[in-house]
């Protein structure tokens, strides 16, 4: 029973990190109908910047804030410089451009920060939290991670639904021409969307790097699972992103813990694929995806 609790809770924590990446992907998708494959790479870069700040000033929170700010700036810059020129062109071009950006960022990180593992600090204690005498398998920092991601989701969902800024974003993504005719500054909306997504990605990077150690490729597999979580939940839905993240994180935790024969760790990716396929077979646009099929 203890293990079950531990597996569940640690799965939730990792799931929250996947959810953060998923949220940033949902943001760019809802806002611009584009997938940002460089999201993991951007998060890695902002986390490196944060690390430098932490070591220079000795303060975790200053690093944290700088990471988020860098995420905003990086997101906006990427949209303006790299993604904007590809709009109106074949759709896949923007995918390739973000992939190129990912490769470029990883190369630059290797050059400027070196290829070795870097240890990234946490805001709170990493010793385990207990319920009575039973260790729950999570730490105060893990609780912080979960809390921050949940708060971000709520804010995002509320913003999309109830604010005029959110409405503008959704309108611009749905039909840019009509949105322009309604007086929406579509270009600005795009940039803001990407800037916010950059913020979320930077947040994910800072939250997960203590567990993965920081190096140029550290966010690669987090991104893959984050993307999977977004797809499971439905790319149009922030609550979907969190749900997808939780399902994935907890599911993979159970597979790692309960599958025997020494295969548990190898089967993680296969289990993730199985979950994804299962969800998509039943709901081709994700759990919360609203897209309807057009049948003739």
């Amino acid at each position: 029973m203890t293990e079950f609790i531990q597996f569940t809770l640690s799965g939730i924590v990792f799931g929250m990190v996947y959810a953060a990446i998923a949220l940033s992907l949902v943001l760019t998708w809802r806002g611009t109908r584009l997938l940002n494959f460089a999201q993991g790479g951007m998060a890695m870069l902002t986390t490196f910047i944060a690390l430098e700040v932490v070591y220079k000033t000795g303060s975790y929170w200053e690093g944290f804030v700088v990471a988020l700010a860098a995420g905003v700036v990086l997101g906006a810059v990427v949209e303006l410089v790299v993604v904007r020129p590809t709009l109106g062109r074949p759709e896949l071009n923007s995918v390739i451009v973000t992939i190129g950006l990912l490769i470029l960022l990883e190369g630059l990180a290797g050059i400027f920060f070196g290829g070795q593992f870097r240890s990234f600090p946490t805001a709170f204690s990493i010793t385990g939290v207990h319920l009575g005498k039973t260790p729950l398998g999570v730490s105060r920092f893990d609780e912080f991670v979960a809390g921050v991601v949940l708060a971000s989701t709520l804010i995002l969902a509320v913003a999309f639904r109830f604010t005029s800024a959110g409405l503008r974003m959704r309108a611009a993504a749905f039909n840019a021409t009509v949105a322009r005719l309604s007086g929406i500054r579509v270009a600005r909306v795009l940039t803001v969307g990407w800037a916010l997504a950059g913020l979320l990605g930077a947040l994910a990077g800072v939250l997960v790097s203590p567990s993965t150690f920081l190096y140029p490729n550290s966010m690669d597999s987090i991104f893959v699972y984050g993307f999977t979580a977004a797809v499971i939940g439905g790319l149009d839905s922030p609550p979907g992103a969190v749900t997808g993240g939780l399902i994935l994180g907890v599911g993979l935790s159970y597979v790692g813990g309960y599958v025997g024969g020494g295969r548990g760790s190898d089967l993680t990716a296969i289990a993730a694929m199985a979950m994804l396929v299962l969800v998509l077979m039943l709901r081709p646009a994700g759990l919360f995806g609203g897209a309807s099929l057009r049948r003739v």
Binding site: P85, V231, L276, P284
Partner: protein, 333 residues
Amino acid sequence: MRRVLASIVIVAAVVVLLSIKLNAFRDYQIAEIATYTTAVAGLTVLTGLSGQISLGHGAFMAIGGYTTALLLLHLSWPFVIVLLVSAAITAAAGGVVGVAAARLSGPYLAGATLMLGVALPSIASAYPGTFGGDQGLTVVFNAPAFLGANFPLTRWQAWVATATALVTLTLLASLSRGRIGRNWRAVRDDEVAAAVAGIDVARARVLAFVVSAACGGLAGSLLAVITALVAPGAFPITLSITLLTAAVIGGLGTLPGAVWGALVIVLVQPYITNVAYSHGLSATTSANIPIAAYGLILILIMLAFPQGLQGAVSRLLGFGLVPLKKEDTSERT
């Protein structure tokens, strides 16, 4: 079609000439280029002609590669048979994937195929008894006896790979120009209209996956014999992503584009590495520069040549033909 065959013959002659005149390493690179051309050609047909994005093409290469390795290890069939069987088995797998993917579109298809590309090679690690685990399976491939003992293996590999690539390109060109290709393009451009016109949309989409998977399987088979090993580490997700970038950089939906893409994959990074080496930079820096440069080149090519390299070449040589893909004038919904 006659034009295509003429170009194929010319290319074949040029390759044979090059393979004799250039050194053994260049022969190996020719074999690599041919292998990637085969893979990218299948992917460009799937994504460019039938409009289904695939981020997991490397998985099909893995299936082809492992099938070849196992067949060569346990049975002693001639290589041509092994090649065809690998393609067939991979095609069947492609059919399964195609059926599963038939209802998916856009990013959902991307996500599913991405996970396929990540998960499939890990099967080999999970079942080491059959698949050799992380160390993989060694593949033994020799030049046939009739060529003599001194015939360089790399030249033979270049010929085999090029022949496979050229046959694949010819078959794909024929498919693309025929009814099947027209159906694919119709489905890609407007699914509803295609269905109204009487095209079986699901069938067309699954067929595209089957064909593309067969190409991937052939490429995987070639990769197995020229690198002499199949292992999970040889099919990382970066392979699938590289194949997609090659397809788009080369010119999505065009077969010459597959060749351009393969050339970029094989030649660009070693070239930059050599340049960095000769400037005597530190080890970490000169290892990362080719990577950063490659990413930058991808971005620049996409921004400068939105139709890919083949699009640029077409315009340069004044072909000015009807664009292969309908211009994206509709709003994205």
